[in-house]
């Protein structure tokens, strides 16, 4: 409990030291057994390239805040601060960090695919983070939830989580993006997204996917009122037949 209080205070210091507007991004990453091997390797590589690309953009590094929820066997929030990597409580003050303090966790794959639970965790984190911004007088952009999976939800109440995600997005509370790796159930994945169709990753193009994500987040986090912010072209997705 004291630890949480301490973290909450830490977050307030963060806001005082860095009053830049924030763009919160929750990455929901499938770490189920089917991701073992090349997939989890490429996913880890992709995370590292996202880290490098965003750190290289000084303004994005101050504005984009990442949180990582992995879902393999269990959905868990991971500590993405330097020297972290372990599971932490689902507390928005601890879960999100700006890029200057971010360190990509090394993901391991095993177990089932509790996607619904991960989505619920992600929605809660984003909601709580926005409340923290408001309390601290920090401007913010619409948060992103970015989900990557190669399977289908195995938790039994995933559909209610999908409804929650759709509702939150229709209320303009979050932008929900879903990407399916080869083998993903694209039809079930589509149940989560109300605004845009999930896209299917071309082979193992994780690197391109995360490069695209970093460019998109850099653009969104620096967009100004009245801007139309077109996202860069998607080169990593399979074209629908």
């Amino acid at each position: 409990m004291d630890e949480i209080v301490e973290y909450a205070e830490l977050a307030e210091v963060e806001f005082a030291e860095n009053p830049e507007p924030r763009c919160a991004v929750a990455l929901l990453l499938d770490t189920s057994g089917s991701m073992q091997g090349r997939r989890i390797e490429e996913l880890n590589n992709g995370l590292r390239s996202l880290d490098r690309a965003l750190k290289a953009d000084p303004l994005a590094a101050l504005r984009v805040e990442l949180a990582v929820v992995s879902f393999g066997a269990r959905a868990r929030v991971l500590d993405v601060r330097d020297g972290g990597g372990d599971e932490i409580p689902p507390d928005a003050a601890q879960a999100f960090v700006t890029l200057d303090a971010f360190s990509p966790p090394a993901l391991l794959a095993n177990g089932e695919t509790p996607m619904g639970e991960a989505v619920r965790l992600g929605l809660g984190l984003v909601r709580d983070r926005k409340a923290m911004y408001r309390e601290n007088g920090i401007d913010y952009f619409r948060p992103w939830i970015f989900l990557i999976t190669d399977g289908h939800p195995t938790d039994k109440d995933w559909e209610s989580a999908a409804d929650e995600a759709r509702d939150e997005e229709s209320r303009r509370g979050v932008s929900f993006y879903a990407v399916g790796v080869e083998g993903a159930d694209m039809r079930k994945l589509a149940r989560f997204a109300s605004q845009r169709q999930p896209l299917k990753l071309k082979g193992l193009a994780f690197e391109e996917l995360f490069q695209w994500l970093s460019k998109s987040l850099a653009a969104v986090s620096q967009s100004r009122p009245g801007d139309q912010t077109p996202l860069p072209p998607v080169g990593w997705a399979e074209v629908e037949a």
């Binding site: 009053p19 507007p21 007088g137 009122p225």
Partner: protein, 305 residues
């Protein structure tokens, strides 16, 4: 860093001139972010002292995303002053003291209607879409007895009563997200003209663009920031308009302000000086030092709670 090409339109029209009880200092200064992107200062301001102690102020913040924002802001403040002056004249010169039956919300909406018409005309003449001139607008009509503020967008107005109490005379209109805003060029802008009326006695009024939001108001409560008061005093004590404007511009261009915002910033401060205080004032010495103190306090004060 100098105050590069401030869009600085001190409207000299009107009847009052030297007889006005208002001391006004004003500056618009280009933001470091605009310099970095080769953009001009897209803020503009204008004010006019009229007969019977009426002061008109207009401040506009051109949208960074709009191609001709600086022109939009300039035309918006100029046309707002014209329309406000027409309101005052129609009300017989003492509009702000006229307590009986004036629907200020109606009058302000008419002012914004006139501003939109001027921007539409500009857009037609220049063969540009109206949104190329997108800007916010905050305007005020002030006398010692009354302050009327109208706004569309995220400008900020702060007033000070004769008892020295600061009050927020407007709340910035903002969407939930940082890249959302309201501009006078939007289709539904006239439905969102927010008019607030405050009864005096009024000692001072300040209007700023959102670049100075965090200096004028304490977030997230949006209460006025107490160190704002010495800055108003500085204007009240400085009789030389040029000197006051230059100091204000230097303050807005100072490193400490630039460290807080990379946006353009405009500040118009008007202080209603009682007649005996004008005679007794020691503008050169007193004004100079308190300008520094005010600047220090403003820039150094804990802005984030």
């Amino acid at each position: 860093m100098a105050a590069d090409s401030p869009v600085d339109e001190h409207d000299v029209g009107g009847a009052a001139g030297a007889a006005s009880p208002w001391r006004v200092a004003a500056a618009s200064v280009v933001g470091t972010g605009h310099v970095a992107h080769g953009q001009p200062c897209q803020d503009a301001h204008a004010y006019r002292a009229m007969a019977d102690g009426v002061l008109l102020v207009a401040v506009a913040d051109g949208a960074g995303s709009a191609a001709r924002a600086e022109d939009g802001a300039r035309v918006a403040v100029a046309s707002a002053l014209e329309a406000l002056a027409a309101v005052v004249e129609a009300a017989g010169g003492s509009a702000a003291d006229n307590t009986g039956g004036v629907d200020w919300s109606d009058r302000m909406t008419a002012v914004f209607q006139a501003v939109r018409a001027a921007l539409e005309e500009l857009a037609n003449v220049e063969w540009e879409p109206l949104r190329a001139f997108a800007c916010t607008l905050t305007c005020a009509l002030a006398t010692h007895r009354r302050l009327v503020v109208g706004q569309v967008g995220d400008g900020v107005a702060v007033g000070r009563g004769s008892d020295g109490s600061l009050f927020a005379a407007s709340q910035p209109q903002k969407g939930e997200y940082a890249n959302e805003a309201r501009f006078v060029t939007m289709a539904d802008a006239l439905d969102h003209v927010e008019t607030r009326v405050f009864d005096g006695p009024l000692d001072a009024v300040a209007i700023t663009t959102d670049g100075l939001l965090r200096l004028a108001l304490v977030l997230p409560t949006h209460e006025p920031h107490a160190p704002f008061s010495p800055l108003l005093d500085f204007v009240g004590q400085t009789a030389e308009v040029e000197q006051a404007n230059a100091r204000l511009a230097a303050f807005l261009a100072s490193e400490r302000i630039c460290a807080r915002t990379d946006d353009d910033k405009t500040l118009v401060i008007a202080v209603h000086a009682p007649v005996d205080a004008i005679a007794a004032g020691d503008p050169a010495a007193g004004g100079g030092s308190s300008a520094h103190e005010a600047a220090d306090e403003l820039a150094g004060g804990s802005v984030a709670p």
